[in-house]
């Protein structure tokens, strides 16, 4: 894939929006933004065709910077709005951006049902293992034992594997990457956008401000190095002996399957219903 020229990315940003952005210096969300823009350009989509839908959180602030149709919804509900948009205008490319709390705590119900329905929506889930925007409380992906502002003695709950959850719930496409593995992230986002049906890309991203500081993980650079150290292509990871797997994070395409897509099956119902209606006249 030839590199997408910087000026193209520049063209997709909203410059009349008051930059600088709201994120902490060094936050992974800016890297994701760049990656998303490159994959959109690479996908050959028209700006008018793209709808970015987000929930509430640091991740939820991403769409406002992009010169497409952007909808910043309520906490956890991005997928419900996205479902409505996609049903209303199937020709649009609908992409949601959610945080881990957004997508799997308050919005967990919507995530599993969107995956089950398999509507043609791409869901980018930024997993920073914490509630960034509200100050580092624990989220469904906070690791057991980690510190959070609501877990001062260490977190007592096991965590969700967002990708596994999405796969089990029925998504057509599931992939995982990190903001360190940018080239891979560009590609995976492109693949998810191109894939018909519900596609999830789990993006591991450092929140040094809240999660990192409380857990003494060092600077954002140190946290990025951790992604580098632990990240492993899923194909290689699968060959590891069971006992060794927990030390690494499998990255890449985890699930890619062809399943019935909601819009297409609904069209068939409409055809049948209108034929029955006409027969009844």
């Amino acid at each position: 894939m030839p590199p997408v020229h910087r000026s193209v990315v520049y063209d997709w940003l909203r410059h009349d929006k008051k930059f600088p952005h709201v994120w902490c210096p060094g936050c992974g969300l800016g890297i994701l933004l760049g990656s998303l823009l490159r994959s959109l350009v690479e996908s050959g989509l028209d700006k008018n065709q793209v709808v970015l839908v987000s929930g509430i959180g640091c991740s939820g602030r991403l769409p406002v910077y992009v010169d497409v149709n952007s909808v910043h919804t309520t906490h956890g509900r991005a997928l419900t709005f996205a479902t409505g948009i996609k049903l209303a205008k199937p020709e649009l490319k609908v992409i949601t951006v959610m945080g881990d709390g957004d997508a799997t705590a308050i919005g967990g119900n919507h995530l599993i049902h969107a995956a089950r329905r398999n509507l043609d929506i791409t869901a980018i889930i930024v997993n920073n293992q914490t509630y960034g925007m509200t100050g580092g409380q624990y989220s469904p992906t906070t690791p057991l034992g980690a510190k959070a502002t609501t877990a001062p003695y260490g977190h007592r709950e096991p965590s969700f594997d967002i990708s596994a959850l999405s796969a089990t719930a029925g998504a057509s496409f599931v992939a995982r990457s990190t903001v360190y593995h940018v080239t891979q992230l560009d590609q995976l986002l492109g693949q998810a956008i191109a894939k018909p049906g519900f596609g999830v890309v789990e993006v591991l991203s450092p929140c040094h401000t809240n999660f990192g500081r409380q857990n003494r993980l060092g600077s954002q650079v140190d946290m990025m190095k951790e992604f580098k150290r632990k990240g492993m292509r899923v194909e290689r990871w699968r060959e590891l002996p069971e006992g060794k797997r927990a030390e690494s994070i499998p990255l890449g395409v985890l699930v890619d399957r062809d399943l019935p897509v909601f819009g297409q099956s609904y069209d068939r119902i409409c055809d049948a219903a209108s034929r029955r209606g006409e027969a009844g006249k």
């Binding site: 909203r14 009349d16 929006k17 008051k18 700006k47 008018n48 065709q49 709808v51 839908v53 769409p63 406002v64 010169d67 497409v68 149709n69 952007s70 909808v71 910043h72 919804t73 309520t74 509900r77 419900t80 709005f81 996205a82 479902t83 409505g84 948009i85 996609k86 049903l87 209303a88 205008k89 020709e91 649009l92 119900n109 919507h110 049902h113 609904y266 119902i269 409409c270 049948a272 219903a273 209108s274 029955r276 209606g277």
Partner: protein
């Protein structure tokens, strides 16, 4: 021309048919007694017309889905009852602040919580006004007959589209399940209002900049006008702002676009009020009992009349003031402990004596009870 045909219709069916007549082309809902018939009817009607219908995973999702559909240009409706209406409140506020046309039907049943799921009540009147957090305008309509279910659903769509705001149709279990003979108007007799579209090319477009109407001409998603929609307070371009000099005008416009049309938004029906010495102010199923009480009372020589409120919010202040003026007594019967009577008392301002008659036993107020209260008070 064929003679208009009388039909026997249920209140909930009339809402579904009214929605279709108003141009509803998108429905998302979640089943709940006593509103399920609306969702069921729509699940038959929408696919037959090629329109989206979806049963979502809950009511939060249903209203979210509707808002998405509306942003993309559809005329959307969802239907629920108390527990679901409670779940919808946050996104109802979103539709208000982001100015998204939307019709929400709440068929009232006994609450709070699961309450009396199959019994009638009118306990959600103040919730329909104040249910979502933050100060905001609200438009709420309330039918008492099957014909009004049809008519007010059309009005709800027209106002949602015209003002770019959510409109709540507050029905109740009795009106919802009752069957009555109705003659529906011919399509050409129905006025249908659609939201205004941008009149400038995309390059000149400032989404929330308004003309004298104070109502923005928001483009449907995906039609070449790229802008930002958010539940945060935003500037004219749609971008979040906290600047006092942008925040205050924003709120002023949000309230102003409704408040300058208060007179237009008053929908009431007067029964035998001309010579009345006593007035009953009622709404929803209770207005039916009140109408019967007026009839029976008149036969017995009582000079009593009734004002039915078909619009509840904004509270139809002027017609209520008029109805109270010069009366000896006003009675407000309702299936709650005084949610509208307190509004009537507020606007009464010393004009007359206002009595409330609240009932919460899961059944309707009867004409006899109303007459009894009037007799006691005499």
């Amino acid at each position: 021309m064929a003679k208009p045909r009388a039909q026997l219709l249920q209140g909930n069916e009339a809402i579904a048919l009214g929605a279709l007549a108003a141009g509803c082309n998108f429905f998302a809902g979640y089943p709940i007694t006593p509103a399920s018939e609306i969702t069921e009817r729509m699940s038959r009607e929408m696919p037959a017309r090629g329109y989206p219908f979806i049963q979502m995973e809950d009511e939060i999702a249903s209203i979210g889905c509707c808002i998405g559909g509306s942003l993309a240009g559809k005329k959307v409706m969802t239907a629920t009852s108390g527990p679901g209406f409670s779940l919808m409140q946050e996104n109802l506020g979103y539709a208000c602040i982001a100015e998204v046309p939307l019709v929400v039907v709440n068929v009232m049943r006994g609450g709070p919580s699961t309450g009396l799921p199959t019994n009638v009540a009118q306990g959600d009147v103040q919730q329909a006004r104040w249910g979502t957090h933050g100060d905001h305008p609200a438009i709420v309509l309330c039918p008492a007959t099957v014909a009004q279910c049809y008519e007010l659903t059309i009005t709800a769509f027209n106002w949602a589209e015209r003002f770019r705001t959510p409109v709540v149709l507050l029905s109740d279990e009795v009106v919802a399940h009752m069957r009555e003979k109705v003659v529906l108007p011919e399509p050409h007799e129905i006025e249908v209002i659609d939201r205004r579209q941008p009149t400038v090319p995309p390059d000149w477009y400032v989404p929330y900049k308004t003309d004298g109407s104070l109502i923005p001409q928001l483009a449907n998603l995906g039609e070449g006008y790229r802008y930002h929609v958010t539940g945060l307070v935003h500037d004219e371009r749609g971008f979040p702002t906290r600047r006092a000099d942008e925040v205050e005008p924003f709120y002023n416009r949000l309230f102003g676009k409704i408040s300058r049309h208060f007179a237009d938004l008053e929908r009431v029906k007067a029964y035998q009020l001309d010579d009345a010495e006593m007035v009953i102010i009622a709404y929803g199923c209770t207005a039916r009992a009140a109408a019967a009480a007026v009839r029976i009372g008149r036969e017995r020589g009582l000079k009593v009349g009734m004002l039915q409120l078909m619009s509840i919010w904004p509270f139809p202040r002027r017609p209520v003031e008029e109805a109270l003026t010069g009366k000896r007594l006003a009675l407000v019967p309702e299936l709650n402990m005084g949610q509208i009577s307190r509004e009537v008392k507020r606007v009464n301002d010393g004009r007359t004596q206002v009595l409330r008659h609240g009932k919460m036993d899961g059944s309707m107020i009867t004409p006899d009870e109303i007459l009894g209260r009037l007799r006691e008070a005499k």
